[in-house]
């Protein structure tokens, strides 16, 4: 395959940045999108140029580290992670535009790498179950119906990649936050702290500068894990009932 890449290059957060075009030849349709970028970076390194910086880790679609806004869509044309996107999804001779996630809460570190620690701070604010010291509880001590366990697990499949924020016209983090609130709110272990959790996580989400939800559904449509909008409705219920009944005056 012969391609033209239009890549966003930015030295650091203070730099203005801009697009640079790179012609690329000899790409196999079996390569993943990240392998294609590896080929580009090898060429750039050989020429003594600065390689294109991008995030990646497991390359198996489960870690949530890869990002990239490819041809106007987060993770490109398929509903999957960029590492699981293959070059067969493109045509010979295509020009591919690659941009970083765009959100005030996700500042660009360099090139296509953005700082997603805003998500970590949302989790730190309440996205956990407090575990006190003591004996290890039996795994099946509390019976949980399969349907509820499945629904909680569906929410828990969110890998925190940030495609929802990237896709949303408001750069809203509601799909992410709602998935993290839902996975715990549905289970008995998580229900104990549900009120404080909803209040704290939503306060943190707002403080990070993410936008509000317009219910366009773009987040769910682009989510590589297909996290459902029902989670956002559940988060709203959790929050509204929490503000009416929590001890936090």
């Amino acid at each position: 395959m012969k391609l033209t890449l239009k890549v966003w290059r930015q030295k650091n957060n203070a730099d203005k940045g801009g697009f640079v075009s790179y012609p690329l030849d000899g790409i196999s349709t079996d390569m993943s999108f990240l392998e294609m970028l590896d080929v580009l970076n090898e060429e750039l390194t050989e020429k003594g140029e600065d390689p294109v910086h991008f995030d990646h880790d497991c390359r198996e679609g489960i870690c949530g580290m890869c990002s990239l806004y490819i041809n106007g869509k987060p993770h490109g044309p398929q509903q999957t992670t960029t590492c699981q996107l293959h070059m067969r999804s493109f045509n010979d001779g295509d020009t591919i535009t690659i941009e970083p996630w765009r959100a005030a809460a996700f500042p660009v570190v360099k090139d296509l790498v953005v700082d997603r620690s805003a998500f970590d701070r949302i989790i730190q604010s309440g996205g956990y179950v407090s575990v006190n010291t003591g004996g290890v509880p039996d795994a099946n001590e509390i019976p949980i119906p399969k349907t509820i366990a499945d629904e909680a697990f569906d929410a828990a499949t969110c890998i925190g990649c940030g495609a929802c924020v990237a896709a949303c016209k408001n750069a809203s983090a509601m799909l992410f936050t709602s998935a993290k609130i839902s996975q715990l709110a549905m289970l008995p272990q998580g229900k104990v702290e549900r009120k404080a959790r909803a209040e704290k996580m939503i306060a943190q989400m707002d403080a990070e500068g993410f936008g509000a939800c317009t219910n366009t559904g773009a987040c769910s449509a682009e989510c590589p894990k297909g996290i459902s909008l029902t989670n956002i409705a559940r988060m709203n219920r959790e929050y509204f009932s929490a503000v009416l009944s929590s001890e936090n005056v």
Binding site: T97, S172, C213
Partner: protein
Amino acid sequence: MSWVTKTFSSTLGRKLIMALTGLFLILFLTGHVSGNMLLFKGDGGEAFNIYAKFMTTNPAVKILSYLTYISVIGHVIYSIMLTSKNKSARPIGYAESKASTNSTMASRNMGVLGTIILIFLVVHLQGFWYQMHWGDLPVVEYDGESYKDLFSIVTFAFQNELIVAGYVIAMGFLAFHLSHGFASAFQTLGLNHVKYSPAIAAVGKIYAVVVPILFALMPLYIYFTS
């Protein structure tokens, strides 16, 4: 900050106000379109004028009308606050974006649609609502009782092609605004369930088509019949 101010300055609290005021305005539109169906009666406006007097003098309706004013103002103010937060959440946009592949045009442009509807609303209120309350209207008598002849103002306005066209086009924008807003309000309230969400979505789509069409038929009917 008290828990109340904290809630209503959060994104979810502000969305809650958008949803509640939006749903109240949907109720208002339902009442408004039902009452105005009297324009189709062809009785020279008698029923319409009696109805207009009732709507401006009945104490219960008065309470509802104040709730409507509050809803309009609240819906506008909170949409401005939310939009400004949403805009600042993405200071640098994308060079290429294929938003049409993941969401509807109406859902992405609620602010623009709402602004057009607001402009229409101001013109509409000036033309009829203001005239009914404080304008110098001709008076008619039915069964010995005198009524302001709002019907004559309405029929006069809708002789003008430009006004008729403006009303019909504005209803088109209202249709798109409702096509997203109706179901979206329920989602914001947290009412999303396999049992009733498909029904809400279906009713929303039907409502967004039927109500604006009925409204649009009023100026058209008057234009072509008088």
